[in-house]
Symmetry: C2
Subunit: 390 residues, 2 copies
Amino acid sequence: MISVEDALDHLFALARPVATELCPLTEAAGRVLAAPITAKLTQPPFPASSMDGYALNSVEADMHAQFVVIGEAAAGHGFDGRVGAGQAVRIFTGAPVPEGADCVVIQEEVERRGKLITLLTEDTSKSNIRPAGQDFSLGDQMKAPRVLTPSDIALAASMNHAELCVYKRPVVALVSTGDELVQPGETPADGQIIASNTYGLKALLEAHGAEARILPIARDNRSSLETVFSLCEGADLIVTIGGASVGDHDIVADVAESMGLDQSFYKVAMRPGKPLMAGQMGASVMIGLPGNPVSAMVCGHVFLLPFLRAMTGLEAAPAERFSATLTEPLPANGPREHYMRARVTKGQICAESRQDSALLSVLASANALLIRPPHDSARALGETVDYIRL
Amino acid sequence: MISVEDALDHLFALARPVATELCPLTEAAGRVLAAPITAKLTQPPFPASSMDGYALNSVEADMHAQFVVIGEAAAGHGFDGRVGAGQAVRIFTGAPVPEGADCVVIQEEVERRGKLITLLTEDTSKSNIRPAGQDFSLGDQMKAPRVLTPSDIALAASMNHAELCVYKRPVVALVSTGDELVQPGETPADGQIIASNTYGLKALLEAHGAEARILPIARDNRSSLETVFSLCEGADLIVTIGGASVGDHDIVADVAESMGLDQSFYKVAMRPGKPLMAGQMGASVMIGLPGNPVSAMVCGHVFLLPFLRAMTGLEAAPAERFSATLTEPLPANGPREHYMRARVTKGQICAESRQDSALLSVLASANALLIRPPHDSARALGETVDYIRL
């Protein structure tokens, strides 16, 4: 058995970035930017008014000074001429500031009669002008790789990009194994249960940028497994669930090896999730997860999501950890790293009382995995522990 | 001007839940469950072995006791007979425990010769059996409404549901207004800039369950606005961006009112984002956001996402707040609630130095909005402040 950290290192060594593609801006949120975005223009492209008011020269801005309004500048419609001595231009938010003006006096501080305005202020310490390039300049870059947020999309738009170069969605083939499984909506016979792992994992992986395909259930015999493995061709990652233990019916490793799996590791010192294997298998990477529903989902968070990130050029790093204080004590931990289902509320964390790895109802009510290092000593109420978000 | 809290209350009063629809389980993650899911079966449906080993009767489990192995129970293939005195059944993880047996001795604690096993333990305090219904029972419910997580999807699968009743995605029409705007990819003329708000807001709203449609840019004249408003028919929510201020070219409110807008409020005491309006407009709700890019995105987080939640039957509540400690002091705040762009790292928060509401580059590098209440006094390093996540 190896540690979770070592298992992740083995996985990262197997990760190859997928290809890139052009993606319309409207579909790029959540995708991983593959090449820096270079601003095609300067923003604002011109000094722009940030208020509605009058553009004039601040050296003339004395209390009760008067100006002749010689024209108007609106957003999208600049004033062509120059603002001379004793002159002002009516200006609106977003409009280019005309030449000769260096401040905008807001309309509330001006009295207007016909073409004449009188200032009711002499304070022009705030120019109400956004200088050209205040946000960014032609050639400035948004760095890659990064997971594109809605704010990034807005910024990319304003840099005048209608499509972005992103990593392709890694294709993940999800294979449940077991004679006891039927698909949701079918009627289970005696001794059978419903396949749930592939559905939960598909949702998890797709929320993090993968394209996940649920394959037919592989039965506990060589030919069924071989058939389903052959259907995985073209997948960047093949994930099997179940059949990875040492029972007489656990033949996933055997069959995978006969089909070319170069096993990188097997068994990880963690709870839940011990029987876990991974390796290169032809052009794909294969990861075998344990069959208990909670174990499979926990391994999804601990191994699959970081692997997915590494496949899209992001930093090869474990799931992000946060910390919170315990609202109930915890007993000492055994030799395996334990990922306890827990609830976090406002910086406080409490492990669920039932930790059996088959309890999906407990997992669904949890929002965190509380991490106990191997041989962690008993923890008291109020101590700080690490967790990852579900 | 009204407070952010009052504005939200007005908005929630306008929110009507959208209709529901059936959605395949594979597409339901992230959607809002509209009706409780009732378990169609008990899970596990039978007492199931949680280990590979031998099923027998624990009263006979003495050290070195011997048992005849009378058959096998594998996952999906139960043993039909009954385990009598002096008998055991070979059993694998997930298999139904046969009648007459009440514990599974793991294979590592058994010596087997032919059909005979000898126990190397007498400890059966751990039965290694998952009782029927340990996870849930026929008729148990997953409550609605809730945003369906990957774990929920796995639980719904194991309750044997292939499709779920969810709220429809609210349809949001996004309308940018302004003569100065061109679409990304176009070539701006003098005095023009790129429309970015609709792209950022579409990404934000779709990440939270809406179907967002970007409409043609409305120009600063009545007929253009009327045309674009008429294209919004069928939208649950119409969001305009810009043109909501009091400048001569800000005619959104006028045109919307002439087309039936029953204005609920106008102007909110917040920074950025003061010019904000909302009301009922025919069968749709109309929300008018300010045109500065950062203002529009901040209002998206503060108003649109909570409104979206209320439209899908979720609790009408402001954006979730978290708290963190300041790494730099902050000056006193003015009369408006201030949503400062900030960065949070491991429970510590720092406001960005540039807070102008036109700076998308600053918004894109922030991951939080630090909330200053109206008239908040100056804050020292180490004090705790509230924020919402970006």
